[in-house]
């Protein structure tokens, strides 16, 4: 079943220095599965994720031949309809917990704000739900974390709090923008298994944006490889290591390997024609 279908998505910024096309004709469809989007910084992967929520500020413009989420035309939806979707049905985990949590609000207050304002729950019930969400992302001592400010948490904890916050309304689609880049390997594995469980148990769709090819190859079902705003290759994640496109190969080859040679790592060949 198709949850989200995007056809010919374009994101354009009209700047003083001329038009910048961040995303140029991206098409994909997503069922209840894990879709990875990889590419270098500036390849348009974050912009693609944000466009789905229409979270691009002027002078940026979103155009698409089609962008439909579960029967709702996202291009024609009013701001009011979009607000009902954001968070409730489509949630996004941002890249950096340091900049995405409110620094002067306790974690507990941030987690319960939506529950109290939007769902009109009592303070007690909201608190219980928030603690439940923190437990779901395997935070030990959720009561202590509820009383903490964001600066008192480590990067891994902050990232898990963000995921917990996004999962409280039980969304159908989660867009995770580099959710594990700031984390080390052991914590990374934990966060991934949490996301994996949610896709399996709740039947959630997941768009996983990352620049880590190995991670995406291991974790996702399907992968889009982006370069300069275009999708250069779409393939099954399990075949990622056998990718044929020279750009994808280049991204794989520039990673150092344990036991590899000490020779300089091959640089990335960025041929202009791939962007055409």
């Amino acid at each position: 079943m198709t949850l989200l279908s995007v056809k010919d998505l374009r994101v354009t910024f009209d700047t003083e220095a001329g038009r910048v096309e961040a995303v140029r004709g991206v098409s994909f469809s997503l069922g209840r599965e894990r879709l990875g989007i990889v590419g270098e910084s500036g390849s348009g992967k974050t912009m693609t994720g944000r466009s789905v929520l229409r979270l691009i500020r002027p002078p940026g413009r979103i155009e698409a031949a089609e962008m439909v989420f579960d029967g709702t035309d996202l291009m024609r939806a009013s701001e009011r309809e979009m607000r009902a979707l954001r968070g409730q049905r489509i949630a996004m985990v941002m890249q950096d917990p340091k900049y995405s949590l409110n620094p002067v609000m306790k974690i507990g207050a941030q987690l319960t704000e939506g529950l109290r304002r939007r769902d009109g729950l009592s303070a007690k019930v909201a608190r219980e739900k928030a603690i439940e969400a923190l437990e779901a992302v395997q935070i030990r001592g959720p009561e202590r974390v509820m009383e903490a400010y964001p600066h008192e948490l480590s990067g891994g904890m902050g990232q898990r709090v963000m995921i917990a916050m996004m999962l409280i309304p039980n969304p159908d689609l989660l867009i995770a923008d580099e959710p594990t880049s700031a984390l080390d390997v052991t914590v990374q594995a934990e966060v991934l298994s949490i996301l994996d469980g949610l896709v399996r148990d709740r039947g959630m769709g997941l768009i996983f944006i990352s620049h880590d090819l190995r991670l995406v190859g291991r974790f996702c079902d399907r992968v889009l490889v982006m370069y300069k705003g275009r999708v250069v290759e779409e393939l099954e994640a399990k075949n990622l290591m056998q990718a044929e496109h020279p750009y994808t190969r280049g991204l794989l080859n520039c990673l150092p390997r344990i036991g590899g040679e000490r020779a300089p790592l091959p640089g990335l060949d960025r041929a202009a024609e791939w962007a055409e």
């Binding site: 270098e40 910084s41 500036g42 480590s154 990067g155 891994g156 984390l183 080390d184 390997v185 052991t186 914590v187 594995a189 620049h211 880590d212 090819l213 190995r214 991670l215 190859g217 291991r218 280049g250 991204l251 520039c254 990673l255 150092p256 390997r257 344990i258 036991g259 590899g260 000490r262 300089p264 790592l265 091959p266 640089g267 990335l268």
Partner: protein, 252 residues
């Protein structure tokens, strides 16, 4: 004789009621021109060791010696001529309102070194940045370019020792490769000694001859590059860490 010796180093923070033991009795020693790695999960104290060496963290117990001499407190100018640090996040470690020219010439001014103009131009060239970047601000650069500036800044005083705190973890795979190549080239050209922190075993393996695995502020196990590649570690934790990085093996 070893160039850097860290002996039973402990770094504690906080008060008696709430004591944080960031580093607890860690020893290591590096020869000149060696490249040594520190790995471990976040909070294992690996960065704290680097910070203690250059005086950004207190030494609670133990000793740090450079060339046989205990480091003075405060570290002083002679120390900064020999030891420099490159930080993790190039977005946060460059002054946002100083041009690259000012960032790079400040150490020269402090140390009374002349010939600023030529040295700044040379420094940009050495790290592969165009000369016309000289009067740009950090926000006008990409992450990889900023990290190059941070490396150039650390090399302005021509130190022998570079302390590298996760120099590529904020960068993309392709930019990481360029930065690692740059560091290796500079090391062989200038005979530098590297003490490098990373949580990526593949990066450490690519860059370092020996590596110390850390957990909860303590040293777990020291491995040579061959031991790492052949997976002959003896402690469980080092093995766990290795297995979590299995996809980074050659041929994986």
């Amino acid at each position: 004789m070893a160039l850097i010796e860290v002996e039973n180093l402990s770094v504690h923070y906080g008060t008696k009621e709430k004591l944080v033991r960031a580093v607890e009795g860690v020893s290591l020693s590096l020869d000149a021109r060696e490249s040594y790695g520190l790995v471990g999960e976040s909070g294992s104290g690996k960065s704290t060791i680097l910070r203690a060496i250059c005086g950004l963290a207190p030494i609670t117990a133990g000793q740090i010696r450079i060339d046989g001499q205990p480091v003075p407190t405060p570290r002083g100018r002679a120390f900064s001529r020999r030891v420099q640090m490159v930080f993790q996040d190039p977005y946060a470690s460059l002054h946002p309102r100083h041009t690259l020219d000012r960032t790079l010439s400040e150490p020269l001014a402090i140390h009374g070194i002349g010939d600023t103009d030529a040295r700044v131009v040379k420094a940009l060239q050495d790290v592969g940045l165009p000369a016309n970047f000289r009067f740009r601000y950090p926000h006008q650069l990409s992450g990889g370019q900023r990290q190059r500036v941070a490396i150039a800044r650390a090399l302005m005083l021509e130190p022998e020792i570079l302390l590298l705190d996760e120099p590529t973890s904020a960068l993309d795979a392709s930019v990481q490769a360029e930065t690692l190549n740059l560091l290796n080239r500079l090391r062989s050209e200038r005979g530098l000694t590297f003490l490098m922190v990373s949580h990526d075993l593949a990066v450490i393996d690519h860059m370092c001859d020996r590596v110390l695995v850390m957990q909860h502020g303590r040293a777990v196990e020291e491995l040579t590059r061959d031991q790492l590649a052949s997976a002959t570690m003896t402690t469980d934790y080092a093995r766990t860490l290795f297995e979590a990085s299995a996809d980074r093996m050659l041929g994986a």
